[in-house]
Every structure is written in structure tokens, then in C-alpha cells.
Amino acid sequence: MANQHDIIFQHVSFSFGDEIVLNNLSFNIKTGCHTLIKGESGSGKSTILKLLLGFYHPDEGRIRWKDNTIHPQEIRKQTAWLPQDLDLGSHSVSKVMEKPFEFSCNQKKATTEHQKIEILNQLGLPKNILDKPFRTLSTGQRQRVGIAICYLLDKPILLLDEPTSALDSKSKRHIANLLLSNKAKTIISTSHDPSWVKKADYIIEI
């Protein structure tokens, strides 16, 4: 039986117009574990993360969180999400990293310059990247800045969409060490990458 803190997908179906993306999908996600959603491109992995974030309602079935039907605004206060292709505009990396801490639910966590530099270093990014416009970064650098934001937000649930897709093997090790070392966090990720798949506690194939 699912424990109180599980996230439960019950017979979830979802379509974009006529295109069926998910059909009668059921699974449980345990808190404090790293659950990986595996499937081919276009199989609906990213859509599952967006359904969890409450960006869409399932056409059929339901998603429950802590024994309740999902309430998007509440669950989002507990999440950090790394999308596949992070687009955070043309401001400097420093400003981009500060933005999420301006939101009322994150204001107590305000990040310092020192913390930003330290986390970027751990992810193999130099200090001077803070002054560069975010849009000028490579896909891999953008991905690492996104991971840094997710880490600094220190939320109990991390949703990572192909977190290693644009990273070299050294950077992959860095982010695994950083994100997976805290066993109190619930991590839900999607990936094709065998080295990342190996690090999952549970794998859901769709």
C-alpha cells in the first residue's frame, strides 16, 4: 500500500487534441527516492512531469498527492523543475539565478553571491559566467545553471527532465553528486542516459 507521502497516478490518460500522449497510466512515486521515468522520445515523459506540476489536467484518471487530489498552486511551492531546454531570457546569469528567490514563497531562502559562485564551481562553471547574458550560454551551461537554481531553491521535490542530455561525463558526475546525495528529497527524472538511469531507485517504463 502506498504510504502517506506517495504521489499516485491512477489510470491517467492525456491527449493533446487528437494525439493520445498517455493512456491509462498508473504508478506510485515514493518520497525520498529517485524515480526515473523511462521511455522513447515522444512517449510522454515530459508530459508526466507537467501533469505533476498541474500545468494540465488529466483527461481521465487522477493524480493524488498526499492522499489528496493534486492542487497545482500548493504542490508548486514544494517543487523545483528543470525543463529540457531552459529559456530564462537575456538577463545576466546572476539576475536569472536571483529571480526565483523574488517569489513570495522563496523569499526566506534568498541566495548570496558566495552561494551562487560555490554551486556554479561545483558544477564546473567559472565565476565570471554570472555576468554573462543567459541566452549566450551553451545548452550544457544553461542546463547547469538550471540545476544550480533547483539546488539553491532547496525544495523537497525535484523534477528533472533529461538533466544530463547536454552534459559531458564529468559534469554528469558533478550533478549526480550534488542532487542525489540528499536522501530527504524526492527526485523524479526522465532520461535516456544509461549513466543516469543507473542512479535511480525505481524505474517506471512507459
Binding site: Q73, A80, G89
Partner: protein
């Protein structure tokens, strides 16, 4: 000096100069000459109509009739804003834009006409109709820029908005950067014209006053006031337009109802 009235023959002569741009447009295959013809016909017919109704409005000069005319102008501006912003005509776009434009105009008109200029007669047609028309025309232009920038930027950068939401932002917080950009884009043209007025251009209202015999010093006073009214009106109506449409164009999941977009 008496103002020189133009005969219809003189106006017809004035149109001859259009042969010059028409030839250039034809030579370079722009395909714009048909549009030029339609635009000229519409301009003449619309202004003829305006001329006649203004004669009537000035003669009758009743605040209720003037208000009714403002309502019609706002309604026409509402449809034009939606169409030119590439949004679909739906209740969720038409009603809030109408409300925003009307509220913007009411605030600006009451402040400038009744508090600043202090008209001897409530909503006197001679002042109310041209000033409202100028403010509304500029509101329309800014609304089109602002509303289009807001909704299309949001659709193009959906994941940025979703990223902010996923970080725990409220819808208002997540939309803030998009509102900021829309306000910048819509306010910039008016700010630029305020900064260059008198140096690069002599604005229409001032020119009109000078032509009709007013002293240039009176004309500039009105021009200063009208620029302030236009700037305030445009920022107010774009902001209210975004604020009001936001109440009706988002789903309960905080996602934009993209069926309002034409493209």
C-alpha cells in the same frame, strides 16, 4: 489672419502628389497600390463622416450625446485592438479590453478636462471629442503593441513562465517579466516622441491650433498637456488591458488559453 478654407478642387489637386509614391510602389512591385487606393477612400469617407458628426456634436453639445460618442469610439477601438493584436474576437478578449480602454479614457478625460482644464460645461464637445480622440488613437496603437507583445511572448516562451510557476511563483509573479516587457514595448514609442517633440516634429494638435489662429504659446501649453494625457492614457490602458484580460484568458491550471491567439 483668417484661416484659408480649402475648396474640394484644391483637395483634389492635393491628391495629385500621390502619383509620385504610387509610381515608386508600382515600379518596385510592392503590391501596395491597391491598399493605397482603399486607404485613401476610407480616409476621405471616414473624415467626411467625422466632419459632419462633429458639426452636429458641437452644435448640440450635450454631455450624454458626447459620452455616447466616446462609448462608440471605445467600442471601435476595442475591436481594432483585438484584430490588430492578432487575437481572436472572443468574450474573453473583447470584454476586458473594452473595460480597460473605457476605464483608462474615463480617468484621463475626467482628470484633464474637468480637473486641469476645468471646462465651464461638463464634457464640452469642443474639448472632449478631439482630446478623447487623440488619447484613444494613441491608446489603440499602444494597446496593439503591448497586448500583442504580452500574449505572443508568453506563448513563445511558455517554458520560462512554467519554470517560474514550478519554482512556486503565483501567476501574477510568473507573469511579471512578460508584463514588464509589454509595458516597455508599448511605452517606448510615446516616450521617444515626447523626447523629440518640437525638434523633429510639430504635432498635429499644435499645428491645427496654430492654423486656426491660436497663439503658438497657447498651442504648446495644450500640446504639453495632451502629451502627458497620451502617455498616461496609453500606459494605463495597456496595463489595465493585460490585467483585465488575464482574468479571463487563463485556465485554472494557470496556463494561457492559447485558443485566443490567431497564429
Amino acid at each position: 489672419m483668417e484661416i484659408i478654407d480649402l475648396s474640394w478642387l484644391q483637395i483634389g489637386m492635393g491628391f495629385i502628389i500621390l502619383l509620385l509614391p504610387a509610381y515608386i510602389l508600382w515600379k518596385y512591385n510592392t503590391g501596395l497600390n491597391k491598399k493605397l487606393l482603399t486607404a485613401c477612400l476610407r480616409m476621405v469617407l471616414q473624415l467626411l463622416f467625422v466632419g459632419y458628426y462633429l458639426e452636429y456634436l458641437f452644435e448640440y453639445d450635450n454631455p450624454w450625446v458626447n459620452s455616447a460618442w466616446i462609448l462608440i469610439m471605445v467600442l471601435v477601438a476595442d475591436f481594432a485592438t483585438i484584430d490588430r493584436s492578432d487575437l481572436k474576437r472572443k468574450a474573453s478578449t473583447l470584454i476586458p479590453i473594452f473595460g480597460a480602454t473605457l476605464l483608462g479614457i474615463i480617468v484621463i478625460d475626467l482628470f484633464f478636462l474637468e480637473v486641469v482644464i476645468q471646462l465651464p460645461k461638463l464634457l464640452a464637445a469642443q474639448y472632449t471629442i478631439p482630446i478623447t480622440g487623440m488619447v484613444l488613437g494613441n491608446c489603440l496603437r499602444s494597446n496593439v503593441i503591448g497586448i500583442n507583445a504580452f500574449y505572443y511572448k508568453l506563448a513563445d516562451h511558455r517554458e520560462r513562465y512554467q519554470f517560474y510557476l514550478a519554482c512556486g511563483a503565483s501567476r501574477t509573479e510568473a507573469l511579471q517579466p512578460f508584463i514588464s516587457e509589454a509595458l516597455q514595448k508599448s511605452a517606448n514609442p510615446t516616450l521617444a516622441s515626447m523626447a523629440t517633440i518640437g525638434l523633429v516634429s510639430l504635432p498635429g494638435m499644435m499645428t491645427g491650433q496654430i492654423l486656426s489662429g491660436s497663439s503658438p504659446l497657447i498651442a504648446i501649453k495644450y500640446q504639453i498637456m495632451i502629451m502627458v494625457a497620451i502617455f498616461s492614457g496609453t500606459v494605463l490602458s495597456v496595463f489595465l488591458g493585460i490585467l483585465f484580460t488575464n482574468q479571463m484568458t487563463f485556465k485554472d491550471t494557470d496556463m494561457l488559453d492559447e485558443s485566443i491567439l490567431k497564429n
